[in-house]
Each structure stands twice: as structure tokens, then as C-alpha cells.
Symmetry: C3
Subunit: 206 residues, 3 copies
């Protein structure tokens, strides 16, 4: 039940991040809903395809889609101003990343995956929705930008796998791990933690 | 048999839309074939992956691929002029959207999916090919642009599901539903039906 | 065993091509690793999803990921100069294309796929990683550009299928077919083999 509540929190957060990014890109109400749904449901669909769950959970539970569509509509209605949405997108994205990476790991472990596979599937599930959002809107995916992103998701997934192995209560571990991911990601954004970049040389001759 | 005929109609339409868009983007003959094949086969492959059909139907029936490749080649040969292709892309895309959304829903229902899952899989299968085409060619996906698109596909999928539940003859329902999708889409294009967009505020400070 | 050695060669080549392209796009060390991993592992994950192997092989063998991450890190460390990387990306990509197209076909045949399905899955598996790399970095996918690309992959896949049918020893056939793909691709690059492009007409009125 805690897992379900967490999942819905993640859905709302990712749907909001997708819808906000779409509003910012000046899409109409349908485009905003499509991007919101893709962002929120994409990671879970990828997770279920990798785990061999057919059809994906999303497609058997209408509340998933209803919650995401409602979130996107509310975002559209209450954010008529395109300005100042970048920070909101990043906040919602951090929340979705944390929840999906850790809940995805837990779901994979419950489906019988090894700890190694579960961590990778959880990380993919956390990263997937945001990557689809950025590809659709033709932005450079957040996961490729400067601040800690995939590493935060992986850290959460590993915490869940450790908790599962000890074993600690699954729900509590997932909540704590999600909080750790969100904290890492927000601190990275706030402090502009940067990783090294290659030094530029002479320009590439084509 | 009607379903098979419809599927081939959809393959030809989507292959043509992909090939036309690729010609318009100045790709060479191989690029035109790759985009044509991806557009035509992409939606069905996504559908089969979601339904857990391994390997996808496309990969067991060479006529599917042959028809799409031939279509792309014919488009390439008979459209040496890059100009005036935008309208042709949109027309072919509307036809493919209608056929794939409704045939996809029927296939999913026949594979035992619930009405809800079948509608979503059908819609995804209709939208998928065109979205892959636009991503490959780095255009903003049609599904995110102004005119009714995903909603038209969903309407067709829901009609098929209702017909299946009554029950009405599957083939007839699919044909009618596909015609409805194409009509909605073309009227939307013709009348420039627009949905509301968020009002611009002050510019976003980065 | 030869197949495993080939696979690792392909992983290293594709990881290097992805990492080099990411260094060229000025991503930081994490972005370089993400693009390297996606390029190297993407094709195999697509292959396993199409074959219905759950979870994908990559997710059950940590050495796959370790080798790719190490390759990306080494590329990052030893290519601090952004310049002159285009040629290196193309060389590594050709090697990865050849190995993945032919090893993918062999794996699909071993998994019981028909020759036709195996060729398509092999080709997709060869093309997939590079296409993901280019989509992530917002470049026009190599597979759509001028020189022979998908055709080279397909030729290798068909050679493997013929060898499998005769039957010739699988390992030897795969190695020879991979060498043929790489040779075709490099000669095409070197000689700038071009395929015909549609003649431009008057400009498209929107």
C-alpha cells in the first residue's frame, strides 16, 4: 500500500514535470496531456517491458492514466504564465526520479529479478520518463546534463537492493531511498555540482 | 481478411508518409527506405512488444516489409520534386493513423486484452509510427502539434472496443472506426481546429 | 566463446563510439558514461525485448556493463581534446555495427527465430545502439545519412543466416560476416559512396 501511494506520488510528479515542460514549449492542451502522460507512464512501461509483464501494469489500471491526465490538465489550467517554469520542472522531475527509481527497483525485486538486474531496471525506470519527455520536446535530456542525475537514481536503487537483502521492511526502505535520491538531486541542483568536461581542442574539421 | 487488407492499407499509407517526409528532408534513397519502414512497421512492433508477441508479427511475414519497401521506393522514384510534399505527408499520415489505431485495438482485443488495455495499445500503435518518423527526422512530433491527433486515434479505438462489446462484426466495426478517425483528422487539419495554448508571460529567465 | 569474445569487442567499440561522440558534444563525465552505455547496450536490449528474453542478458551479466563503463571512462580520460574525434566515432561505430548485426543474428537463430526474423533482429540490433546515441545527442542518425549503413548490416545478417542454413560453423561465419560489414562500411566512408537524392523543386510553401 505504501508502494502504491509512492507510485501515485511519482506519477503526479512526473505528469506535472512533463506538463510544465510542455506548457513552457507552448504546446496546446492536448500536447500538454500527451507529454504529461508519456513522462509519467513511460518509465513504468519500459520497466514492465524489460520484466516481461504483458500488458504493462499501466494498461490494466485506469486510475494511473486518470491521475496523470488530471494532473496535466490542472497544470495547464493553473499555469497560464509560461514564465518561471524551469525551476518547477526540475523540482517535479527530481521527485519523480526518486520515486520511480526506488519503486521500480522494489517492483523488479518482487518480480524475482536479481539485485543487479533490479537496480538497473529501477534506474532505467526512473530515468526513462524524463528522457522521453526531453526527446519529445527536443531538449537535451536532463540525464546528459551537468548535475548528478543517473547516479542519484542508481544510489536509490542500490539502497533498496541492500534493504531487500538484509532484509528490512520493503516499504520503509523504498520511502527512505526515494528521499535520499530527491535530496541528492536537489542539493546537486542547488550547489551546481558539476562533473569534469573534456577540454576543448582546436575545432573539429567537420 | 478484412483486417489483413486494412493492415496493408495502413502499411502503405504510413510507409508513404515516412518516405515523403524523408524525401522532403533531402535524405538519399536508403534513408528514405529506412524512414518509410520505421514509420510503417514501428507502431506494430511497439504493439506486439506491449502484448508480449515474440517475435513481432512483422518479423514473421516478409510481405509486410516488402510492401513497405516497395512503397518507399515508388515514392522516391515518383516524387523527385521536394516541393509541395507537406500536404501529402499529412494525408498519408491520417490514413495510417486511422488504420493502425483501429486495427491495433482489434488485434489487442483478439489477443485477449481488456477493452481498456486494447484502446491504449491501439492508440499507441496508431501514434507510434508517426512519432518515430518525426523523432528520426528531428521534427516536433505531429502528436504534439495543434490539431486533434491522439484524440482522433483514441476515438477510433473506443469505437472498436464498443463494437466488440455489443458485439458487432469485428471487420465492419474496424473499417467504420478507421474512417471516423481519418475524417476527424482531415476535418481538423482542414478547419485548423486548435486547442487552447497557455498565455505567454514574461520570458523565462533561463 | 568466439561469440562472447565478439560481443565484448562490439561492446567496447560501441561504448567508445558513444563516449567519443559525447566528448565531442561537450558532455561531462557522467553524460559520457550514459551515452557510452546506451550506445553499447541499447542494441542488445532491443534485440532481447524483440526475442522475448526477460530480463535482457545485459541485466544478468555485470561484466557487460563494467566493460562499457570502463571504456567510456578511458575514452574520457585519454581524449581531453575535443578535436578530430569525428573519424574515431565513425571507425568505432563501423566495428560495433558489424559485430552487433552478425552476433545479433546468430543469437536470434540460436533462440529459435526463423532466418527472416533473425536477419531483421540482427540488423535492428546493429543499428539500434548508434541510433539511440544520435537521438540522445540530437544528431541526424548515421543510418539516415548518405553512406551505406543499414544495407551493410543487412548484408552481414544475411551471410550469417546463409552460413547457418548450409550449415557452416557458427563462430567462423559470424567473424567473417562481421569483417564483411566493417569492410563495406569503411570502404563506403572512404570512397564516399553516395546513393541518389531527390532533386529539389521549388520551396515547399510551409
Amino acid at each position: 500500500m505504501v508502494l502504491t501511494a509512492l507510485e501515485f506520488l511519482g506519477l503526479v510528479a512526473f505528469a506535472a514535470s512533463g506538463a510544465l515542460a510542455a506548457v513552457r514549449a507552448r504546446l496546446d492542451v492536448f500536447g500538454v496531456i500527451v507529454v504529461g502522460l508519456t513522462t509519467a507512464l513511460g518509465g513504468g512501461i519500459i520497466r514492465d517491458v524489460l520484466l516481461g509483464i504483458h500488458p504493462p501494469t499501466t494498461f490494466s489500471n485506469w486510475p494511473y492514466l486518470a491521475v496523470c491526465a488530471a494532473t496535466a490538465l490542472i497544470v495547464f489550467a493553473f499555469h497560464p504564465q509560461v514564465a518561471r517554469l524551469r525551476r518547477a520542472v526540475l523540482l517535479a522531475d527530481a521527485l519523480g526520479l526518486g520515486v520511480f527509481a526506488t519503486a521500480g527497483t522494489t517492483i523488479a525485486l518482487n518480480a524475482g529479478a536479481t539485485a543487479y538486474a533490479a537496480c538497473l531496471i529501477g534506474m532505467t525506470s526512473g530515468i526513462g520518463g524524463g528522457a522521453l519527455r526531453d526527446l519529445l520536446l527536443r531538449e537535451i535530456p536532463l540525464v546528459l546534463r551537468r548535475e548528478i542525475y543517473a547516479v542519484a537514481a542508481l544510489a536509490g536503487a542500490v539502497l533498496v537492493a541492500i534493504g531487500h537483502a538484509l532484509p528490512l521492511p520493503s516499504a520503509a526502505v523504498t520511502v527512505v531511498a526515494a528521499a535520499v535520491v530527491v535530496t541528492i538531486r536537489l542539493v546537486a541542483l542547488w550547489r551546481h555540482w558539476n562533473a569534469p568536461v573534456a577540454r576543448p581542442g582546436d575545432t573539429d574539421p567537420l
